[in-house]
């Protein structure tokens, strides 16, 4: 199917009323959770996972994707108005967005965030369309060794790039992979770490794990959140109109951010958080007066917002064409697809054209909706920021319980959510990343399967990972990343150790 034909198919699929409703639902819910600090996109997506059992796989994916990029818009609102980033990506937006709001320019800051997000997602969509077909042709040449090496690269990249303590990231990934071993071993039928519990035969429930780690643990951490005060009391369309100077300053940062984000989004393990940080750093470097950054430079809002939205969209490239999720949110999406019996991979473009092209079309529709809806609805989102968390979290807890119960109808799973939630809270206290745990959990079994297959084919010769050019390139990249992060760790230690006087 050609690109134009595909896009038309996708548009006609995504515009069906039954599908459009889920797209709208997804983006509105996403904005909602993005605005509310204390529940991130991860928690929202895990909360929605069980509901997706009741709808088609295509609609489920479109809805969950809507939550993902919708949360980026919402996160920007909370970052700008209250310096409370609902998502890690929007932490960068607070750097200049909040000072703008403090000096009475909340409106233009919000406009910049929304318009740049939209432009960034358009750039992301274009890259996604161009890359996906090419990559799925390349992916046909991938063997078991290549898949295993690529997934390990993704995990190593996710735990080292931009991380202050790579060892803690590695620990979470390995722990997640160990949790992924629980259940029946596919190759031998041996039950691993089930300790006689029949509920564990299929392994740890992905929904229970995600909800415990993100829903419950985040709620515990936010329960005693004090009441918040927003800087902007009233914001409407009129206050949001940017000046001509604002528009001129926004244009290039948006284009650069979008390009940067769409590149980094496609790489496994990096994703949108890194993109927004890099875009901010780049804008500061190219700026004529870098000292304005941090004090309300509109470029510092536009660039990162464009970058994180384009990265959020191109992150679907490896997930859909290779079946390899680049970041934890993509891991959840992959989990949702697998639950529906869809295995993403090089064949998906041909086997499920409605799913792929429908999703692409829904990105365009959803982002346009966000732009149109959010300009007039901004007042509602601002009002939402004043809802105290104590009114929300008891309901979130009950919804988490019912959501996980609805999957298998087992009380066991609700108790498991409580246990996982406790574990997740302890991890958060010790500042370990639960997102990397989830990524390891989803990728672990895939790595094991491909590793075993690769070694079986090569008759036990581990050189197979170096003999195949694709795999060898990934192994080289893994080695490079490890060396780089080791060098950085040593440098950091030297820098932080204060010489004795």
């Amino acid at each position: 199917m050609g690109t134009w034909e595909g896009l038309l198919t996708g548009l006609s699929f995504a515009l069906q009323p039954g599908v459009l409703v889920y797209c709208v639902l997804g983006v509105v819910l996403g904005t909602f959770v993005g605005v509310l600090p204390g529940i991130g996109a991860m928690a929202a997506i895990s909360l929605l996972l069980p509901i997706t059992y009741y709808i088609s796989a295509e609609a489920a994916l479109i809805m969950l994707a809507g939550v993902y990029y919708g949360a980026q818009y919402g996160g920007a609102v909370a970052s700008i108005l209250m310096r409370l980033p609902g998502t890690p990506q929007s932490a960068v937006t607070a750097l200049d967005g909040y000072p703008m709001a403090r000096s009475g320019r909340a409106g233009p800051a919000l406009f910049a965030a929304m318009a740049s997000s939209f432009a960034g997602s358009v750039i992301g969509i274009v890259v996604l369309v161009l890359m996906a077909g090419w990559l799925s042709r390349v992916a046909v040449a991938f063997g078991a060794a290549d898949y295993a090496a690529m997934m390990v690269l993704g995990l190593v990249a996710a735990s080292t790039i931009g991380s202050a303590r790579p060892a803690k990231g590695f620990a979470m990934i390995v722990l997640g992979m160990l949790l992924g071993c629980i259940g029946t071993d596919v190759n031998s039928g041996v039950m691993r770490y089930t300790f006689g519990q029949t509920e564990l035969l299929d392994g740890v429930n992905l929904v229970a794990l995600a909800m415990g780690l993100f829903g419950v643990a985040e709620v515990i951490g936010n329960v005693r959140d004090p009441e918040r005060q927003s800087v902007a009391e009233r914001i409407g369309l009129r206050q949001m109109t940017p000046t001509r100077d604002d528009l001129r300053r926004m244009a290039f940062p948006t284009l650069r951010g979008g390009a940067l984000g769409s590149f980094f989004g496609t790489l496994p393990g990096t994703g949108s958080t890194l993109s927004s940080f890099l875009s901010y750093a780049m804008e500061r470097r190219v700026a004529r007066r870098p000292e304005r950054f941090g004090e309300g430079a509109i470029e510092g809002v536009s660039g990162p917002e464009a970058a994180n939205n384009s990265a959020a969209i191109t992150a679907f490239v490896p997930t859909l064409t290779l079946g390899i999720p680049g970041d934890p949110i993509m891991a959840l999406m992959l989990g949702a697809l697998v639950i529906h019996g869809v295995q993403p991979g090089p064949m998906m473009l041909d086997a499920r054209p409605e799913m792929f092209w429908g999703l692409v079309a829904s990105f365009g529709i959803g982002n346009l909706l966000l732009l149109i809806l959010n300009l007039p609805l901004i007042g509602i989102w601002v009002a939402l920021l004043r809802i105290p968390f104590r009114w929300l979290y008891p309901a979130i807890l009950i919804f988490i319980c019912l959501g996980v119960y609805s999957v298998r109808g087992l009380t066991y799973d609700i108790v498991a959510v409580a246990a996982i939630g406790l574990g997740g809270y302890l991890l958060a206290l010790a500042r370990f990343s639960p997102a990397l745990l989830l990524l390891g959990f989803v990728l672990g079994p895939l790595i094991e399967t491909n590793l075993r297959r690769a070694l079986l084919i090569s008759r036990g010769d581990p050189m197979v990972f170096l003999e195949r050019p694709i795999s060898a390139a990934f192994v080289a990249a893994i080695a490079g990343l490890l060396v780089l992060s080791a060098v950085q760790a040593v440098r950091r230690r030297r820098a932080t150790t204060i010489p004795p006087r």
């Binding site: 803690k168 620990a171 722990l175 160990l178 770490y193 329960v223 104590r390 939630g421 079986l456």
Partner: protein
């Protein structure tokens, strides 16, 4: 000097988990050979890796200063209790009683005194729950305690 307890305790706990998982795999599952990996090979390697990484996190932290995280034991206990009350109560007590009790328990650590808002919130959330999950999604759940 305050030590970096999160890294020390977290690292040691993970090292212990890793060692236990590797030991269990070594004793109970066949590791096989490189050519034909058994069910024990992958968990054995992962457990050993986790044990080593746990120590890598914990040992350097021994001599490092750190700030203690803000622990909220009361919030944690109430949130987990709320989930257990709801989960274990759902089938014997029914959706209405379980939701109401779950919400009331959950609100206990909230930073605002008084009972009126807790009861009101519990009533509203219970109503929403029944509307969404029983009426909307048509999940088969008992509404009231058994025998009523």
């Amino acid at each position: 000097m305050r030590r970096d307890w999160p890294d020390i305790l977290g690292g040691l706990a993970l090292a212990a988990i890793g060692a236990a998982a590797a030991g269990w795999a070594l004793v109970h599952y066949d590791a096989g050979s490189l050519r034909q990996m058994g069910p024990g090979a992958f968990p054995l390697v992962l457990g050993a890796m986790l044990a080593v990484i746990g120590l890598v996190v914990a040992l350097p932290a021994l001599g490092r200063a750190g700030d203690a995280p803000a622990v909220e034991p009361w919030a944690a206990v109430a949130v987990l209790a709320s989930i257990l009350v709801f989960g274990l109560g759902l089938r014997p007590l029914g959706l209405v009683v379980a939701s109401f009790a779950g919400v009331v328990v959950a609100t206990l650590p909230a930073p605002r005194r008084g009972w009126v808002w807790r009861i009101c919130l519990a009533v509203v959330v219970t109503a929403l729950t029944v509307l969404i999950f029983r009426a909307g999604l048509q999940m088969s759940l008992p509404l009231w305690p058994r025998g009523v």
